[in-house]
């Protein structure tokens, strides 16, 4: 067994090259980017990042994205936890159909829902709010959260539930004090996935917002279509969108493999 493994190394280099390129562009001035070709910035500058962090129309995008992603994660987990428990522990009328109906929503192309979402949220006065985007994203995050949590919960022996009942715990106390800590890693993984899919989605988020809740991804597309392209600022904005994801991955790195298998290994 060699110390350096060629295949994964090559693959990671392939993954990192475009990201490296984005990073170097973020550290260059626009004149340097367009002026000539160089593999690394001759004179690294943080000016592009400064532009973003001092201009409200830029940094509000990050704040808006963070708010609706957090809202979405909380809503998804709150409704998914009891449902996943029900699916993993009980049989009830229509349980299988309901489970597959939930999953079928994960298969719905977002493009199908763009127009009806716009009309629905406009008609109830939620257009251009963080809540609208958070609710809309539950379309694909709730099924996924139920699926992941159900997988993790089924791994907890049922005897635990019965013992707690005999010991006189009410269902609420049992769920909050005993059961939830036992599936903590499952909750972490589900939260990770909710974060991930809400953070990367653009089409629905862009359609449901105009000014007050405009996500960073939409702010970026506006810059792309502007005539004078400021590549450096665009690259810096891109780099800043990668950072939250990188931090989150670092925290869940030990559970990530199991999480990607949706708790079903």
């Amino acid at each position: 067994m060699k110390n350096i493994r060629i295949t994964p190394t090559l693959y990671i280099i392939f993954l990192m090259l475009p990201i490296y390129w984005l990073l170097t562009m973020a550290l260059k001035t626009n004149t340097e980017i367009l002026g000539g070709f160089s593999l690394w910035p001759a004179d690294p500058t943080l000016a592009n990042f400064r532009t973003i962090l001092t201009d409200p129309s830029w940094y509000n995008g990050y704040i808006n994205s963070t708010i609706y992603v957090a809202l979405n994660t909380v809503i998804s987990l709150l409704v998914a936890l009891p449902a996943a428990y029900a699916f993993s522990r009980y049989r009830f009328m229509g349980d299988k159909h309901l489970f597959f109906w939930l999953l079928s929503n994960r298969m719905a192309p977002p493009a199908v829902f763009v127009l009806p979402f716009f009309q629905l949220y406009s008609s109830i006065g939620l257009f251009d709010t963080h809540l609208a985007v958070a609710l809309a994203h539950t379309l694909f995050n709730v099924p996924l959260a139920v699926w992941i949590l159900e997988g993790f919960m089924s791994g907890v022996p049922k005897e635990i539930d019965e013992t707690a009942q005999i010991d006189g715990y009410s269902f609420g106390t049992f769920f909050a004090r005993i059961f939830t800590p036992m599936i903590a890693s499952g909750i972490g993984v589900a939260a990770f996935f909710c974060f991930m899919f809400s953070w990367v989605e653009l089409l629905i988020a862009r359609t449901l917002t105009s000014v007050d809740a405009k996500p960073i991804a939409a702010v970026m597309t506006r810059t792309v279509s502007a005539s004078g392209l400021d590549w450096g600022v665009l690259a810096a904005a891109g780099v800043l969108t990668i950072i939250p994801g990188a931090i989150v991955i670092w925290f869940v790195r030990n559970h990530i493999a199991k999480g990607f298998a949706l708790g079903r290994v």
Binding site: R5, I6, T7, P8, Y11, I12, L15, P18, I19, W21, L22, L78, V79, P82, A83, A86, R89, R91, F92, D95, L98, R106, M107, P109, P110, A111, V112, L115, F117, L120, L135, A136, T138, V142, M196, W199, L202, L203, I216, M220, T221, V224, W231, A235, G238, T241, I242, P244, G245, A246, V248, I249, W250, A257, K258, F260, A261, L262, R264, V265
Partner: protein
């Protein structure tokens, strides 16, 4: 695990049911509504029956987008699934090397999709991009905004870059559940590398591979943002996939009736194909065991 019969469990499921009914059923009913009606504006609608469905199913435009979409998903699955398995097999099993690999490989999955598009748009440009510049320096004619084949290659490579890690992570999860004793037994029996893969590793990966194939199929079939940012569906219509075409029709031209019929046909195709994948793969599973 034996599950208890308990109708009260419905109370636990009720919040999810209401939420999904709100965020999925109401919009879906709106779409159904539009698909069978026509409007002259002023919010006046009248019944047209299956007219839009017949129009969509017979239109060249829909056939073209569907054909490109099927080809794209087929290419994506053919590249990403074997590549993902192969990389997962070669990954370090434990220690800091494994953690580092996992973190770095998962990184592209957490980049917003339009930023993925932006990264590749920049990376492949001839004037300022590393890839485009290198290819030009090597004398290869490459221009993804003008040549259809180059646009396709760019979009496919971008998707491989973006999503192969998902397959790798899933397979890795399956592989890491195999106890060391299995490998030792295989070694004692003198099993070949292929036999180890065929009889020990592959069976363990089957369940996660099913998830991988389903997720990759669904997501590649619904792809919108990344190719839209890079090519805008062009050159011409070369990379106009179903979602791009649908958004163009619904938001750009505001053809509600045809767009709604398009939506329903599209959704049904995804459901049907996912169901076929699921049935075929689980049926083979049943034969083997």
């Amino acid at each position: 695990m034996q599950k208890k019969q308990n109708q009260k469990a419905w109370f636990l499921v009720l919040p999810v049911f209401l939420l999904v009914a709100f965020s999925a059923v109401i919009p879906l009913m709106t779409v159904v509504n539009y698909s069978v009606q026509d409007s002259f504006g002023n919010n006046e609608f009248y019944w047209v029956g299956t007219e839009w469905f017949i129009e969509i199913l017979n239109s060249e435009r829909f056939h073209g987008a569907l054909g490109r979409q099927l080809l794209f998903s087929a290419i994506i699955l053919a590249i990403e699934i074997p590549l993902g398995i192969w990389i997962a097999l070669k990954m370090p099993k434990k220690g800091w090397g494994a953690s580092l690999c996992l973190v770095l490989m998962a990184l592209p999955l957490l980049i917003p999709w339009n930023v993925v598009g932006t990264i590749w748009q920049i990376f492949a440009r001839e004037d300022i991009g590393l890839l485009g510049h290198t290819l030009a320096a090597m004398g290869i004619d490459y221009n993804y905004t003008q040549v259809a084949l180059d646009a396709w290659i760019t979009v496919v490579v971008m998707d491989v870059w973006h999503w192969t890690s998902l397959v790798v992570l899933l397979c890795y999860a399956g592989l890491s559940s195999i106890p060391d004793a299995f490998y030792q037994a295989a070694k004692i029996d003198g099993a070949s590398r292929w036999a180890v893969f065929r009889y020990i590793q592959f069976p363990k990966m089957k369940r996660v591979l099913l998830i991988a194939v389903l997720l990759r199929f669904m997501d590649s079939f619904m792809i919108y943002t990344e190719p839209f940012v890079v090519t805008g569906g062009g050159p011409g219509n070369a990379t106009t996939f179903l979602s791009i075409d649908l958004v163009k029709m619904a938001i750009g031209q505001f053809d509600l009736g045809p767009a709604a019929a398009f939506s329903l046909v599209y959704f049904l195709i995804v459901l049907l194909l996912s169901w076929v994948f699921y049935t075929v793969m689980t049926a083979r599973d049943g034969d083997a065991s």
